[in-house]
Subunit: 230 residues, 2 copies
C-alpha cells in the first residue's frame, strides 16, 4: 500500500462527545499532536453526543473529525442500542450494567487503528476510564495493553518496525480529577453530552448512570456543572 512515512505527531483521538474523551483530546492537543478525531455512529440512543463531538473537535482545534457509521444494533444485547431494554435510572448497581455495548471499545480501537494506518499516525488516544466504569472489562489497563500488543502485529507499519502506542491518559483518574484537568486546559464542558438518553437538543435526563457520575464529578471537583438538563 502506498502511504507516507510515519507522521510522528499525527494522532487518532476517539471522541464520543462526552466529558472524558473531550478531556483526552485537550490533553493530546496540549502535547502538540495533530488530532484526527473519530466518532462512531453505532445506532446509540443518545445521538446528540455525535453533535457534541463535532462541537468539541472544532472548539479544541482538531485537524479533522470523522463519523463512521456502524449498525451495532444489528447484534442487539445492550440498552444503548436495543430499544427493548430500558436504560436504568434508579442508580448505579454493582456488576456490568445493561448499558454495556458488546465489544464496543475493541471495535472503536480497531477503527482508530485503520485510520491511523492511512494517516501514518503512530498514536491513538482513548478515553477509557477504569474508575467510574469498573464494571466494563474493556476499560481496564490490561485490555488497553493487550490491544496495543495486537495492533503492533496487525499493520503494515508494524511489520516495518514503526510501533503504535495506545494512550489512555485518564484511565486511572476519578471523574473529579478528569474535570479538574480539563478545566485547567480550557475545556468547555457545556459543549459535551454524557447522558445515555439525551434529547435531540443534547439536554440531559439527570437520572441515568452517566448523568449521576457526571454530576457527582462536578460536585467533587468543585467546578460549576455546565450541563444542560431538561
Amino acid at each position: 500500500m502506498s502511504m507516507p512515512a510515519v507522521e510522528p505527531m499525527n494522532a487518532v483521538v476517539l471522541l464520543s462527545g462526552g466529558l472524558d474523551s473531550a478531556t483526552v483530546l485537550a490533553m493530546a492537543r496540549q502535547q502538540g499532536y495533530a488530532c484526527y478525531c473519530l466518532s462512531l455512529d453505532y445506532g446509540q440512543r443518545h445521538r446528540a453526543e455525535l453533535d457534541a463531538a463535532a462541537r468539541v473537535a472544532a472548539a479544541l482545534g482538531a485537524r479533522a473529525h470523522r463519523v463512521v457509521k456502524l449498525d451495532l444494533a444489528a447484534f442487539g444485547g445492550s440498552a444503548l442500542t436495543d430499544t427493548s431494554i430500558a436504560v436504568p435510572v434508579d442508580g448505579i448497581e454493582p456488576g456490568i450494567p445493561v448499558t454495556y455495548v458488546p465489544a464496543r471499545n475493541t471495535i472503536l480501537l480497531s477503527l482508530a487503528l485503520a485510520w491511523a494506518e492511512v494517516l501514518a499516525a503512530r498514536h491513538i488516544f482513548f478515553g477509557a476510564n477504569a474508575v467510574d466504569y469498573s464494571g466494563y472489562p474493556d476499560c481496564r489497563g490490561e485490555f488497553v495493553s493487550a490491544f496495543q500488543h495486537m495492533a503492533n502485529l496487525a499493520t503494515k507499519a508494524a511489520v516495518e518496525g514503526a510501533s503504535l502506542t495506545v494512550h489512555a491518559p485518564i484511565i486511572e483518574l476519578s471523574k473529579a480529577e478528569i474535570i479538574q484537568r480539563g478545566t485547567t486546559l480550557g475545556v468547555d464542558y457545556g459543549l459535551t453530552v454524557s447522558c445515555y438518553q439525551a434529547d435531540a437538543a443534547g439536554r440531559a435526563c439527570g437520572a441515568c448512570d452517566s448523568c449521576r457520575l457526571r454530576r457527582a464529578g462536578f460536585e467533587a471537583a468543585g467546578v460549576t456543572d455546565p450541563t444542560h438538563y431538561r
Copy 2:
C-alpha cells in the same frame, strides 16, 4: 448485561463469499458448530462477494447470516475501497499489495467478538491464510494469537471466566490444500467469488491477484475450476 449462559456449540464464522472462508464454514459445520455467519459490507468494489456469502451460508447450513455495513472507504488507502487506486492485474508482486485494506481483519474479528458475546458463543472461525497472503500482516498466526489474548480481556464473558477461541484452521494450508479439504467436505466452489473486481453477476476477471491465486490453486489441487469467468 443480561445474556444466556455459554452456548458451547455456537460459533461466529467470518464469511467473505470467497473460497477460503467457505471452506472454513464447512470445517466448522463438520465439527458440529451452530454457525452464525458474519459478512462485512465495507465499501469493497467486489460487491458480488456479499451475494456469494449469502449463497454459501445457505448451502452449508448456517444458522444465520448477517451483513454489517461499515464504510471503510471513509479512510481511503486501499485499491479495494478507493476507486482512485487501480487493482493490479499484471501479476503478483512481492511486499504488501495495494489491495490490502488497513486493519480489515482486526475490524472483522472485533465485530465477530461483539456478535459472539451477544450469542454467548465462545468460538470464532476466521479464514486467514498466511501462505498465499504472506504480505498481509493480519493473516499471520501471531496476529491471531494476539487478537485472541486481547479478546479474552475485552468481554463480560471473559471477566466471568469463559474463554474465547479464535480458530484459523486454514492458516498454514496452501490454496490447493484448502480446495482439496473443501471438496472433500462437499463445498460447491461455484457459489464462491474471489475476484477483486467481479462484475455484478459475480463473474471473475481472471487477471487480478486473487483470480491468479485461485486458478493456480485449482490446477495444483487437480480439481476442475468451477469459477465463472467473464
